[in-house]
Amino acid sequence: MSKAMLEIFYDAAEKVNSAAINAWKAQGKKIVGNTCSYVPAEIFHAAGILPVRLRGIETDNMAVGDTYFGPYICSFPKCILQLAGEGRFAFLDGAVITPGCDAMRRLDECWRKAGEDIPGIVPPFFYYFDVPHKTAPHGLDWFKEEIRRLIQAVEQHFHLSITHEALRASIRQYNQGRRLLKQLEDLRATPEAGITGADAFAVAVAGTVLPREEYNSRLAELLQVLEQNLPAVADGKKRLLTMGSISDDMDLIRLIEGHPKALVVAENLCFGVRYEGPELEENGDPVAAMAQGYLGKSTCPRMYGKYQERLDILKQTIARAKVEGVILQNIRFCDLHGSENSLFQRDLEAMGIPCLKIEREYGPLTEKGRIKMRLDAFLRQL
C-alpha cells in the first residue's frame, strides 16, 4: 500500500486543522462540527456546508476542559472543550451538540459557560440536537421533528434553503460512501487482505472529516488498488477486533499492531461502519429516511433494548473476520460502554472468544506501558 495514497486519510484522521479543512475554508465555505453519530450529515451537505465530527485529538493539557467539567467525567468531551478553549476550532461556523451520553450533553452547557469566560470560542451557530433513546414510533416521530427543527435552524442562520431534492441527492452521495466503507470492511475481513488495521482505521476516521465527494473518490481508488491482490498483511498474526467507547486514537491501533503477532481486522466503534450506519432510503421523504437511518437502525449502547442486537452484530463480525480475540476498551467514567463491555466479556468468553478489557483516558496515549503489558499477555494467551 503506497503511503501517498493513504496520506490524505491520515492527515484528516490525525490533524485538527487538516489540509482538507484548510482548503475548504480557503474557498470561503462554511463548516459545522457535530459530536455524535446521530446528526444527519446530509442536512449540512445539502446546504453546501462541510459537516465534520468534533474530536479531541492533539490535546496536550486539560486546563480548560477540567475547569468546566471537573475531574470525574469522561475525557472525550473535555478534550473537545480544551481545543475549543484554545481556539483550535476557529474554523467552525457552527457546532451541533447531541446527548450521545450525559457527558456529551454536558458539553453544551460547559462550552457555553466557558464561552462566557473566554470570548469567541462558541461558534456563531451553536445548536443542541436532542435524540430519543427509543426507536418506538413515538421516538421516531420526535426525532423527525428534531430533524425538521435542525433543518429550519440551519436555513435561518445561514440564510439558505435546504430542499428535499437536495437532501435526497446528499443521501445518495453519503450512501455511496457507506457502500464503499462496507466494501473495505468486507475486504479487511479476509485473510488475504493487503491493508493493516491502522491504515483501515485511518480511512474510517477520515470519513468523518473529509468532504464527501473527495472521500468517496479517494476511497474508491484505494479499493481498486486493494483489489489488485496486494501482499497479505495477516501472515500468521492473531486477528483482533477493537470495540467499546469512542476511539479515534490511531496510536492505540499502532500500539496493538506494534506487536509482531497482532492485526486489527475489525472494529465495533462509533467510527467506521457503525458510525456511517446502514444505507438510507434514497426515495420518498428524506426526513423520514434520515430518522429511520440515523435513529431507527442505530445500534449504539445509548439506545434502550439494543444489547441483544449489538451482540448479534458482534458475533457476525467475529465470524466473518475470523476474529481470535476482542479488545474491549472504554474511556474512564464511561457508564454506557463500561457496563456494556462487562456484559460483552461475559457473553463472548462463554462462547470461547478471549477478551481483554482496557480502561483508559481519551487523548494522548500516555498509558502505553501498562496497556502494552496487558496486550502482550493477552496475545500470549491467544
Binding site: K357, I358, E359, R360, E367, G369, R370, M373, R374, L375, D376, A377, R380, Q381
Partner: protein, 258 residues
Amino acid sequence: MTLTAGCDVGSLTAKAVIMRDGRIIGAQVVKSRAKPEISAKEAMAGALTAARVALEDVAACVGTGYGREKIPFVKEVVSEIACHAKGAKWLVSSARTVIDIGGQDCKAMRIDEHGEVIKFITNDKCASGTGRFLDVMARVLGISVDELGRLSAGAKQPVTLASTCTVWAQADVIKYLNSGIAVADIGAGINIAMANRVAILANSVKAEHDVCMTGGVAKNNGVVQTLAQLLGRRITVPRKADPQLAGAIGAAIIAGQL
C-alpha cells in the same frame, strides 16, 4: 546442564535469576536505577556471581518488567503477567490463582496446571493497591516496609483509611499520627486498606484454590492475612524462593522453552 536466565526490571527493583535444569543457582535483587539497562546489568551481574557462571554460559535469557524492552542481553521479552504466572507455578505447584503486587501495579491471575494464564486483571485506576502505596506510607511512619508488615500483629484498633487515593490516604495517616494514635493501629489500617484494594482484583478473576501471592508485598504478613480473610481463602506465600523473584523465575523458565 542447560543454564537459562530471567531478568525482571520493575519500577522499584530489578531482579535476575539463573537456573540450571529447573533449579535456581543464583539470584539478585537490586534497586532500580533511572535507566533500565543499568538496573538489568547490575542485577544480572549479581546473579551470575552468585551462580559462579558467566553470561556467555547462559543458553537463553528472557526479559520482563517495565524495563524489558531496554535489557541488552535478552533473547526475547515477555509480558510480566505471563512470567509471574510461570514463576508462581514453579514456586507453588498447586497454585491456580496468583496475586502479584509489584512496585507500580497489582495483578491477579487465574492459571492452569501448566502455569499459563487463563484470566488476568491489573489495577488501572491509581497507585493504591501497589507496592508504592506501602512505600509511601512506611516513609510517612518513619519505618521500613518490612516493619510495616509486622505492625498488624500488635494492633488493637486499626484505623480506617477512607480514601483509596495514595495521596489522600497519606494525608489521613499524617492526621492520625498528629492526633497521637498508636503507630501499630495506623500500620494495621494501612495494610487493611492495601488488602481491600487487592481483594477487588482477586474477586474480579474469581479466585480459586490454591491462592498464591508473589511480589515484594507477599512478605508483608499484615496484608496477606487481611487479604486471606477478605477472600475467605488461605493464601500461600512461597517458601521455595523469595516471592519477589517470581517474574524473573518465570522468565528463566520461559527462556528454557525457547
